[in-house]
Amino acid sequence: MLENSIFAILALFLLMGSLGMIIFKQTLFSAISFMLAMLALAGMFALLQNSFLFLAQIMVSVGAVVVLSMLVIVSVNIKEVNLPKEPAKFRWMILSAVLVTPLAMLIYKALTHVHTVFEKTTEDYGSLKMMGATLFHEWVLPFEIVSVLLLAAMVGAIVIGRKEQPYDS
């Protein structure tokens, strides 16, 4: 019973945050709504008894990604005139919602064909120990590839983000 009410509250926050993200005109408000949605998603991971993912979501998605986005938004310092003019925003939203609805219904139908309920989990499900055992026994290669990807992204971000300089100086 308690779980159900917590789920309802978190789902409400998640949907409100994500809807607010695409509705607000000011970019910083969008980022704040996005942070709300990411926090609610971390709560969802906690409801799924996955304590490590809860921590990782809070630390990486909220603590790093959203805060970095906010810092960029604040440092870019967008004036009202530089924001895109979107007079027909809501019309486009309704049109795309109508177009997306069949796809969403298809996805939901396909997913709910798995007729199951949550069973009681083992004692150490979601613990750091089990996570580490699975990660380093069977997922070592993807883990290494992700580390290379992060390195490449870091180099790329530095190269793209620096100021333009003449090549032969």
């Binding site: 960029v72 699975t134 997922w139 971000a157």
Partner: protein, 103 residues
């Protein structure tokens, strides 16, 4: 709190992200919509991991969170670069690779 509720929630998040990409022109909102779609996949994987009772799905979520972080770094650098070029966040202003300027 059944798996179906989580599936419905993941589907709704995916749809909202898709609507955001299609209907908005602000580069930041497009970027955050892409992140929302990736996060809905995260929720789905975590639900399946809980259904199966093993940690494979959770490990995938962990790797996907790392990919999201990499994507965020690249996308934000790209936005700053584009903003310096044209002083706007309008995605319709960047048409260098489309045919519209040539014709």
């Amino acid at each position: 709190m059944t798996p179906d509720n989580f599936f419905l929630l993941a589907t709704l998040l995916f749809s909202i992200g898709l609507i955001g990409i299609v209907s908005r022109r602000n580069l930041f909102v497009i970027y955050m919509s892409i992140e929302l779609i990736l996060s809905s996949i995260n929720l789905l994987l975590a639900t399946f991991s809980r259904l199966h009772g093993d940690m494979h799905g959770s490990v995938m979520v962990l790797l996907l969170i790392a990919v999201i972080a990499a994507e965020a770094a690249l996308f934000l650098a790209m936005i700053i670069h584009l903003y310096r070029l044209k002083r706007t966040l309008d995605s319709d202003a960047f048409t260098q690779l489309s045919k519209r300027d040539v014709l």
